[in-house]
């Protein structure tokens, strides 16, 4: 008995000691308070493009806000795990999260029981818009979108195209099929584009539906040719690649990445964070880093980003109807 009481006392002392060491007497009314930490939840695994982009932003924000900005990866369930945690966190500005559209729109699928929707978030700004591309192997007989459409029309469901599961690559294929009145044989690559790209380079799959960001090394090394970019302007990285719009198909799709707060965060706090993000994104160093990753920086203010989100959601709801169950 004596021994037990001893240990409880010891624990208390140790706890108290650490308490004294770390506690700080900060009480500034402004956001962010000195001594506090801002947490950025990245709902994807460490190492992917969303993670690296987020970490770049976090290091810039530290200088801008003057408090530590810690990145925590909470991957899983198409960003649902991390976003659920954000929704549950206190709307005080000390926790914000990265979102990637259309992945983070998984809440639109009732089967996935996300338990939140757009109204649970306060948009904070957009970071990157990685437009989708339709690409083929460098020596493919399809020299242009026209060739591809002609071939697919001649023999429906024989030209193979790589897609994901309800991701931007999938919606790219669906949209193109609808616009051109063709049907590809969809080959599904869940979990990342890298394996699909390998298969296209190997000639096992005819058409690659992916993003501009995947294209740098394969285009440079003459492995793959971009037939069309699903954006309203040509990519800064591949000025020779025509957009789909130029070729008569008004289709647009991208992987868009931005940042969100839980809904109900006070307006002044939102403004402080949004301005800091804007500042970081407009620095030359950040611009260069993002461009090195072959990502197109596209800043949007909270309002613009909210609008973009709404439009994206409407587009995905429309396109989801094309998925046959």
């Amino acid at each position: 008995m004596v021994k037990k009481r001893y240990s409880v006392g010891a624990i208390a002392i140790v706890c108290a000691m650490f308490g004294f060491m770390v506690a700080s007497p900060a009480w500034t009314a402004d956001f962010p308070e000195k001594g506090k930490t801002v947490t950025l939840i990245i709902p994807q695994e460490a190492g992917g493009a969303p993670d690296v982009g987020g970490r770049l932003l976090a290091s810039g924000l530290e200088k801008e806000l003057g408090v530590p900005v810690v990145v925590v990866n909470k991957p899983g369930a198409s960003t649902q795990i991390g976003l659920s945690q954000l929704v549950k966190s206190k709307p005080d500005g000390y926790t914000f999260a990265a979102v990637t559209f259309p992945t983070s729109l998984s809440y639109l699928d009732p089967k996935r029981k996300a338990g939140y929707d757009r109204k649970n978030f306060q948009p904070l700004g957009m970071h990157v818009l990685d437009a989708n591309v339709i690409a083929v192997k460098y020596d493919s007989p399809y020299k242009s979108i026209k060739d591809l459409v002609a071939a697919a029309k001649k023999a429906p469901k024989t030209v193979t195209a790589s897609v994901g599961v309800r991701n931007d690559d999938h919606f790219t294929a669906l949209q193109f099929e609808k616009a051109a009145g063709i049907q590809f044989a969809h080959v599904t690559f869940p979990g990342g584009m890298a394996p699909a790209l390998v298969q296209v380079v190997a000639g096992k799959i005819d058409v690659f539906c992916g993003n501009v960001g995947d294209m740098r090394s394969v285009v440079k090394n003459n492995q793959v040719r971009i037939l069309g970019v699903l954006d309203d302007e040509r990519s800064q990285f591949f000025p020779d690649a025509p957009t789909m719009e130029e070729q008569g198909y008004k289709i647009y799709m991208s992987s868009s990445r931005g940042y969100v707060l839980p809904a109900g965060t006070p307006k002044p706090v939102v403004d402080v964070l949004a301005n800091a993000i804007k500042k970081v994104l407009s620095s030359d160093d950040h611009k260069k880093r993002i461009a090195d990753m072959t990502l197109a920086l596209r800043y949007m203010s909270p309002e613009q980003f909210g609008k973009h989100w709404e439009d994206f959601e409407a587009q995905i709801i429309e396109l989801s109807k094309l998925i046959k169950d």
Partner: protein, 158 residues
């Protein structure tokens, strides 16, 4: 011993039944090959068949398991149950109390009560394993282990 093996075989069969039932709700076959439910269904069937074979084997003299106690003695059972309970509690409390406090309590429990170690040793190891690990992960690996979600503890840096 034999009884426990037979019960296990029946449990496996129950699991296989569950798999088949659950798989039945999913799409069995699509125009382009097996659907979501195809493999789970057949895996359930195979698992069920094998469990049945095992059950039959058990009833034959050659397939009888060796005699012996399946469950450990009372003290062993308590130790195993305590370990499992401590782990479950850790999982449940981690986000509430934060990594440092939870891990500290867990290690103290393991060292002091199950490991029967001297108290000073337990305290040192627990402090290193909790607070020390927290700082090493945060400083050198850029991995932040969770802080407490209770604002009181959070303010103390735990």
């Amino acid at each position: 011993m034999l009884r426990i093996h037979q019960v296990s075989a029946l449990l496996f069969m129950a699991a296989s039944g569950y798999m088949m039932w659950e798989a039945w709700e999913l799409e069995y076959y699509t125009p382009v090959g097996p659907g979501a439910g195809f493999f789970p269904f057949w895996l359930g069937v195979i698992l069920g068949a094998m469990s049945l074979i095992w059950l039959v084997q058990l009833s034959r003299p050659a397939g009888k398991p060796e005699e012996g106690r399946f469950l450990p003695d009372f003290k062993g059972r308590i130790q195993i149950a305590a370990t499992i309970a401590a782990l479950v509690l850790t999982a449940l409390l981690l986000d509430l109390l934060g990594f440092q406090l939870t891990m500290f309590l867990f290690l103290i429990f393991m060292l002091l009560f199950l490991g029967k170690q001297p108290i000073w040793m337990s305290l040192i190891i627990s402090a290193i394993g909790s607070v020390g690990v927290f700082y090493v992960f945060g400083k050198f690996l850029d991995v932040r282990l969770p802080l407490s979600s209770l604002s009181l503890l959070n303010k103390l840096g735990l």
